[in-house]
């Protein structure tokens, strides 16, 4: 895997560090009741988010899942506006109406997190249809988890993307557990890429702990889509370090299993070694980067804490346009 230039590589590393620090910080704040409705921590899955989003153009579209802080940060939204959203403040990305599960800003190509498993891929597929209808040179990425691989509409959308040759990339952010259910226990046939291939989609099972591998596969998928060669399915195998939801202490996997993934496959540790061995940074420069990330997240928390609550008189705003927004 060729390593990108220094600036790009350090950017990838810093983005993964931002996600990790953001998630671990937010997790603690969530346990303290700061995050309305709790949250889903993506620690461990940084390479998927950063690998995918670093391979996209700024106005490419994404639609994602209930676990989407990492995708949203990697899309370029600030830790301030996402933390503020977790705190349901008016300065949040969704104006405080969404919290952890519903981050999104359509005008910036983020078509939303989603509280419903599988829904994001459908919306991303629709966005890809919109791109095709308008003849734009963009792609749409639908993130989905392993749990979403067993809901029927996912495959309706995959089929539709194939028959219409849409510029869609389906990325399975496969952390191996649907809440507490191991993917292998509930997935007929077992091989997700083969499933997608059965629908006629180009499909790959890849290492989702390796940011450069994810980036490479998504870059190639994007090139194909822009060349009119249709959609791609990428199953990125990764691991979540924390429970499905904040505070969960499940018995469905062993501490040894978690420790094994953390100690041998961690995407950030792995990429630090790549950056250092490429001569892009010394250990002390990596430490400085970590400290600057810490400061950024602390600032995000302070910003969120100081941000105003939404005005409750706005609960009826933006439900619809009123008279359908039509000037007749």
């Amino acid at each position: 895997m060729s390593v990108p230039d220094k600036k790009t590589s350090l950017g990838l590393l810093r983005q993964m560090m931002v996600i990790r620090d953001f998630e671990e910080t937010a997790d603690k704040l969530s346990l303290r009741g700061k995050v309305s409705g709790g949250m889903h921590n993506s620690s461990g899955q940084e390479a998927v988010a950063v690998g995918v989003l670093s391979a996209l153009a700024p106005l490419d579209v994404i639609a994602t899942t209930h676990r989407s802080h990492h995708h949203t940060l990697a899309k370029g939204f600030t830790s301030r506006e996402i933390m503020a959203e977790l705190f349901t403040r008016s300065t949040g990305i969704s104006g405080g109406r969404g919290a952890s599960m519903h981050l999104g800003d359509v005008t910036k190509g983020h078509f939303g997190g989603n509280g419903i498993v599988g829904a994001g891929v459908g919306i991303a597929m629709g966005a890809a249809l919109g791109i095709q209808q308008k003849g734009d040179k963009k792609v749409s990425v639908g993130f989905i988890g392993d749990g979403g691989m067993n809901t029927g509409r996912t495959w309706e959308s995959i089929n539709m993307a194939v028959i219409w040759n849409l510029p869609l990339i389906v990325v399975v952010d496969n952390n191996q557990y649907a809440v507490e259910t191991f993917v292998g226990r509930v997935t007929g046939g077992g091989d997700l890429a083969k499933r997608a291939e059965g629908f006629g989609m180009k499909a790959f099972n890849i290492d989702g702990m390796n940011v450069l591998e994810v980036r490479k596969y998504v870059s190639e998928a994007r090139e194909r889509a822009l060349a009119g060669e249709g959609p791609t399915f990428i199953n990125a195998l990764t691991y979540r370090y924390y429970g499905h939801n904040v505070g969960e202490k499940g018995q469905y996997r062993t501490l040894e299993e978690i420790d094994k993934w953390r100690s041998t496959k961690d995407p950030i540790d792995h990429f630090i070694s790549v950056v250092i061995s490429s001569g892009y940074a010394t250990q002390s420069q990596v430490d400085e980067m970590r400290a600057s990330v810490r400061a950024e997240i602390e600032d995000a928390v302070a910003f969120a804490d100081a941000s105003p609550e939404p005005d409750i008189s706005t609960i009826y705003d933006d439900i619809d346009s009123g008279a359908l927004g039509v000037q007749l």
Partner: protein
């Protein structure tokens, strides 16, 4: 312009389905972002010929044949609408929306509220009680109308079909566009290309002096028959066609209550949990003192619709039932 003589065949007014075609065509010419997707549209033109010939005129990119994948069809429309197109998703029968309920109620309806975006999307389907049995005769309009973010059109005439679909295709919001099976063949003038019907504006379709029937869709036909029969008995009834259920024309409802104090509300949906209940409750809360007696509802049975024609008819309001209801309010 001169018209010629006897050899010219009499040109029929457009049908309800042709009115839909006409409105869609006019708007598709104006807005390249409008496209239609659904099953069996390109050649067949839909089960009710509602888009017949449009694929041939505008090309197969703007009338797309989809697999029978309701969830993906609506999701495709939602995502494309968010992206800036104005899709029409044709679900054939509204009963098929059950396969796409999350996409409609939970996604399309809520995006504007949370994600700084718009969802200009029309979901067209044929609705209402006719032959076809329990799986093709659900009346789901109250479900959609009660979901924040959705608008619901229920035209009863060709001109309203055209005027409402043209408005829907200029709107920013998701619209559920319900066309009644038994109205497919009704014909009428449809106005010119500048004819629009605003949402949330009911229309008085028969004037009266004694009482009002408030209804929509095919029930307008039943109401007219009842009103004719009542006129023969000396009772003069106004009929108000709601045309859209959300936005609901509360002003027209309140005015009817204030004018007559005697109001019947009618539709085909099971009375339990229906729009008629919403109208009766709202009107009573707002103008209780103007009422001479309770608003009487005439609705469907809380029963699946049978495929047996007589049983199907027995589950929805009859002319006799509407007449009885009007006589009941007249008795106060």
């Amino acid at each position: 312009m001169t018209t010629s003589t006897t050899s010219t065949p009499k040109v029929q007014n457009p049908s309800y389905s042709e009115a839909f075609q006409s409105g869609v065509r006019e708007e598709m010419k104006r807005n390249a972002g409008i496209f239609i997707l659904g099953t069996d549209l390109q050649e067949r033109g839909g089960h009710f010929a509602q888009v017949k010939g449009i694929a041939q005129e505008f090309g197969f990119d703007r009338v797309k044949d989809a697999p029978i994948s309701e969830a993906a069809m609506v999701a495709a429309g939602v995502g494309a609408a968010m992206y800036g197109c104005h899709p029409i998703v044709d679900l054939n029968f509204i009963d098929f929306a059950f396969g796409a309920m999350d996409e409609i109620l939970n996604q399309a309806a809520k995006i504007r509220f949370m994600f700084n975006g718009k969802v200009p999307l029309v979901i067209r389907a044929t609705s209402g009680v006719a032959l076809g049995g329990a799986h093709h005769c659900n009346s789901l309009e109250a479900l959609f109308a009660s979901t924040p973010g959705l608008s619901v059109a229920v035209p009863s005439t060709a001109i309203d079909v055209k005027g409402l679909i043209k408005t829907a295709l200029r709107a920013e919001d998701p619209v559920i566009f319900l066309m009644h099976k038994k109205l497919s063949g009704v014909r009428g003038e449809i106005g010119d290309e500048n004819y629009f019907v605003p949402f949330g504006k009911a229309k008085s379709v028969r004037s009266g002096t004694d009482a009002a029937i408030i209804t929509y869709g095919y029930s307008i036909v039943t109401a007219h028959k009842a009103a004719e029969a009542l006129a023969a008995e000396g009772v003069s009834v106004e009929i108000i066609d709601l045309r859209t259920l959300y936005p609901l024309d509360e002003e027209a409802i309140n005015n009817a209550v204030k004018k007559y104090g005697r109001v019947v509300v009618m539709d085909e949906a099971p009375t339990f949990g229906s729009i008629t209940g919403e109208i009766a409750a709202t009107a009573t809360e707002r103008n209780f003192s103007a009422l001479k007696g309770p608003i009487v509802r005439v609705g469907g049975a809380r029963a699946p619709i049978s495929a047996n024609p007589a049983m199907a008819d027995a589950a929805i309001p009859t002319v006799a039932a509407v007449m009885k209801a009007v006589k009941a309010v007249m008795a106060y």
